[in-house]
Every structure is written in C-alpha cells, then in structure tokens.
Symmetry: C2
Subunit: 341 residues, 2 copies
C-alpha cells in the first residue's frame, strides 16, 4: 500500500511528499459530472455504491496519495431534525433554520444510525481501493455546522450565528455541545467502518476573533478530538482564514493542522510547534494559472516545508468547479517529482 | 475643533480615544434611508449637496470624532471608461469588465476632472461641519478596484482577477499602475479640496497570499503613498483578512494601519512596530449583540491599546445595514467614557 499519507500524518519520513486535494471528487471532473447528471448530491451521498464510485474517480485518474469519502459536511444535521437540500449554484439550504433556544432544544442527538449509509460507502470504497491508498473520512466542525443551521445556508457576515453566540450564549453552548456529540459519534462510526484518517472541516471559523474562538468554539472542538483520540487514526483539523487561530486550533486538537494560502507554511508551522503535522497550502485559484506559475508556487511551498517529516501537500480549500483537470494532474506530478528525498 | 482623531493619527496624546465608523453614513440610519428613497447611490455621490448632507447625518446624531465624505470606493473606475451601476441588494456591477490586455490598454488615466463632484462635496461638507470634526476622504486601492473591474462585481473566489494576475502579469501590472495613478490624483484632489485625512480601502486584498501581495500589489500601493506623502495629511491604509499582510502593508505605506477583528490589536501593533498608528478593531457584527457584550469587547480593545498614543477606535469593516442605531450611539459613548485619560 501507498502509505506516504499516513506516514506524513504521523510525522514519519517519506520518499516524497504525499498529496491529495479537498473536494478531489467534484465538478471539475467529467466522470463526476456524468454521475451528477443523473443523481442529486444527496442521492450520491446516500447510495453507498455511487458514493464509493465517485470517491474512486480521482484515484483512477491521478496518482494521489489518499482518497476521501464522497459525502457532505452537513449530513449530520439531518438526523438532528434539520431539513437539508442543495439548490443548483446556490449551495446548501436548511429549510428550518435554528434561531432560538427552543429550536436548539428540539434538536435530537442520536447515535447516528441514520448516517450508517456513510459507513457503508466507506466499506465499499475501501474494498474498491483494495489497499492502493488510504481512505479519509470527514465531518463539518460544530461552528461551521452551526453557522449553516442558524443562517439557513451559506453566509457572508454570519449575523444570525453571532447574534445567538453573543446574545444567547447558553443556547449557543447547548447547540455546540449537541453538534460536538453527534459529530464525535459520526466520525467514530466512519473510523470503525474503515476510514484510516478523519478530517474535521471548520471551513468558516475564520470569521471569528481569537477571543471568540477561545470562548465559543474551542471547548466543543476539544471534546471531539478527546473523544476520538483512542481510535488510533490520524485526526486532521482544517479551517480557512485561521491565521490568528492556529495555536488555539492546535490546542483544540488534531495530529495535522490544515493551512490555507494566506500564511507562509514555515511561519505557520513554527507557530504550531514541531509536535504536529501540517497540510496545505496552495491557493485553489492557482490551479487556473499557467503551469509554470503553478510550479513556482509548488516549489515555494516545498521549499518552506523543507522536507521536514509531517507535511501533506493540499490546497488551502476545496478544488473549484471549473479547475482545468490537466492542471490537477500536473500538480500531483510536480509535488511528487519536486519533493523526491 | 475636536482634533482627537488627527492627533491620534499623528500618535500624539489625546484626552480619550477618538472613534468613527466605516460606512457611518448608511442604511442603518433612517435619515440616510429617507435620502436614498428618493436618490440612487450614484445620484447621492454626484450631487455635492446630497453627499454633504448624508456625510453630516451621523455627526448630527452621535458624538463621533471624524466625518467621512459620502462616496463609493469604485467611483474612479468611471472616468477610466468602465460602466458602473448599483443593483438593490446585489451591490456594484461593472457592465464592461476588464478581461484582457486590450481592455486594460483601452482604460483612460485622466487627471480626474470627472471626479470633481467629490471635491465639491468635500468643500460643502467642510463648510457644513464648521470645524466640529475633521473630514476624511477616501478611495479604493488598486487591488480591490481591479477585482471589481475584472470580475464585473463582487466575488467569492476572485478567479478571473487571479487568472489575469498569474496568467498575464504584464497586463496586470499595467492595470494596477493605471489604477494607482488615477487613485493618487483623486486622493490629492480630495486633500486639496479640504479632506483632512484620506483612507485607502483595500477591502478584498486579504484573499492573497503574502507572496502574491508582495509581488502583485505592494509596488503599486507604494506609488500612491509616495505620491501623497508631501500633502501633509494623515494617510490611512485599510484592509480585511490581512493578518499576514500587515507588515507588507506597513511597508507599502500609511501613517495609520487598519486592523480587522481577526487579530488581537496589541499583537498586530507589536508586529507593525511603534512608528505607526492603528485603527480598529471591533467585529461589525458585535453591534448586533446586547450592550453588555459590546462593552466587554470595547473594554478588551481599549485594554489592548493600553492608552498608547496612536489608536483610533473603529470597526474592523463597515457598519452593516441592519445594525441597531442605538447600539451605535452607545458604542461611541462607551469608547469615550472607558478611554478617559
């Protein structure tokens, strides 16, 4: 098995830097579009055969060092009692947003049996991968899930989210606690089904000040990482716009910390200290640039990582839908070639 | 005259911390809504009587320490040959976006006579203010202007902007140079009409990596600050999401550096060094919080500023449209009361 990715998560030496991409199974691939032409996102997520098939698509096409199960970060909201759908081009919509304490109280924390379809997809994907590369599981982090649930979808300024956070801190903490518990169970279920690493996506937490992160988010994320530490797989903690939150995210937990492109990889790693691995940090928009520009940036990231054990190459956020597929292929090759030890 | 604001810009001692808010003349005020019910944004901008009237509205209502001329950061795009309009709720639209070198070449760099209406508004506002508080002028910075001009409006990922930056660097630098020259002339015109300080808004530059900022933005911003340094008024350099760009922005220029809420004020100030003033840094969404929460955060910011000369209190970005007006009033009072020397 290609175990570069798992070795890097554990900060063990590798022959070259492992690389995978967030949202590597996605709209930039014709193979994915073909499946999505016949099935909605939620159908693909909930049909283990389809989810496994889509998970494998980028692995068949590029020499990536890890697969990530096809799913959506918001899936755990459904068993809690929220009505989730995806509108074309607009992203996720929650039809019954959570706006007050009573709505928080109504949310169910189940054992996650309703999400067993993801566990099944993981089993099928593991089988199809046949040990070629490890499989990553994932979930949204409490703040990011709460922001979608409260706003009713994506948001620019997170006004309603912060209004609850600042104005009804008891309801906020109760909500975050419920989310942390369901996410912990959901990730444990994924690990036990065969996920060889899991990533917690706190995609939107970068809208918070460091003081707010410490007070309103950190304890809940800590609960998740505490709850998973005996499962024996690498835990990845990801966010964007988090330059000033990195040391707090490190404190909250994770063996690997995700870095977006707004920070120099070596500066961030120095801040985090040597006892943690890092993942990143190419600007996803750079994949639209000419190949010689991509190469210059890949080189810069690798130079900053300086072959220290514990770097996983990735984008700073998910691959964008119109990314040229041949640039994705070329980038994977560059990372491997330019990082040969 | 209340000269707390100008003193703080120059890092001179003050009796209490000066405060003003970005977009303080805006939709959260009924007085502003009344004017906008009868006039479009561009009509208000281009009618000096109306622009001056709206500029004074927050000054009549709150004990703010500075006024800022009512205008839009995108106005300099019009004399360059771009067709600008504002759609309700959607923000600005550029109907003929700049997508290639030929479009860049077609852009005019005039002496800014077409923007004389802003200079007239400044003269009228100065007269109406009658020395009560200083008046700030402003313009969008080249990167932020380029991003609107290239995308054709607001953007989430700045794909087209970065595509030109990475893919056609000559066209990019030519465009940025044209923008820098028109902005320099426009700000000089504002100063000579009576603006007692000017602010350069690089609102969206935080989407760049530090390497990209240094290569594609810094030299052009430097040109603007160089061009204005003999005008004798304080120059404010503002951006959001700029935590990792602060020392580069400092290098680009400005007597005052704007800070958003994602960074602790004292950490940022330490990074910037003692020879510069800072402006910020309350999360605009905090104005939606209960007053006791606002007070706790105002106190934290003032504690971190520690009465060092050179702090101007502000939000980390513009006031949001639905902000409760009584919270704005209370915040101004808090800042003055809690920062008494």
């Amino acid at each position: 098995m290609n175990d570069r990715f798992l070795k890097a998560c554990r900060r063990e030496p590798v022959d070259c830097t492992p690389v995978w991409f967030m949202r590597q199974a996605g709209r930039y691939m014709k193979e994915y579009q073909a499946v999505r032409a016949r099935h909605s996102i939620l159908e693909v997520c909930k049909t283990p055969e389809l989810a496994a098939q889509v998970t494998l698509q980028p692995i068949e096409r590029f020499p990536l060092d890890a697969a990530i199960i096809f799913a959506d970060i918001l899936l755990p909201l459904e068993p809690m009692g929220l009505n989730l759908s995806f509108t074309e081009g607009e992203g996720p919509v929650i039809h019954n947003p959570v706006r007050d304490r009573a709505a928080v109280e109504r949310l169910r924390v189940t054992d996650g049996d309703e999400l067993e379809y993801v566990a099944q997809a993981i089993r099928q994907a593991r089988k199809a991968l046949a040990g070629r590369v490890p499989l990553i599981g994932f979930a949204g982090a409490p703040f990011t899930l709460a922001s979608y649930a409260i706003e009713g979808g994506g948001s620019r300024n997170y006004i309603e989210t912060k209004r609850m956070m600042y104005g009804e801190p008891d309801a906020w903490h109760r909500f975050m606690d419920k989310l942390a518990r369901i996410v912990t169970g959901y990730l444990r279920r994924q690990i036990r089904a065969g996920a060889q690493a899991v990533q917690l996506f706190d995609s939107w937490v970068g809208c918070l000040s460091p003081s707010d992160y410490a007070e309103y988010v950190l304890p809940h994320v800590q609960l998740i990482f505490e709850g998973l530490k005996d499962e024996g797989v690498p835990l990845i903690h990801f966010g964007t716009g988090t330059t000033t939150l990195l040391t707090l995210m490190r404190k909250a937990g994770g063996h690997v910390i995700g870095l977006d492109w707004r920070v120099h990889l070596d500066d961030a790693w120095a801040q985090l200290g040597g006892e943690v691995a890092v993942q990143g940090n190419l600007d996803p928009v750079l994949l639209f640039a000419p190949l010689h520009e991509i190469e210059r940036r890949v080189e810069e990231i690798l130079r900053r990582a300086a072959n220290r054990p514990g770097h996983i190459f990735n984008l700073g956020h998910g691959i964008l839908p119109k990314t040229p597929v041949e640039h994705v292929a070329a980038t994977v090759e560059m990372v491997h070639k330019l990082s040969q030890r």
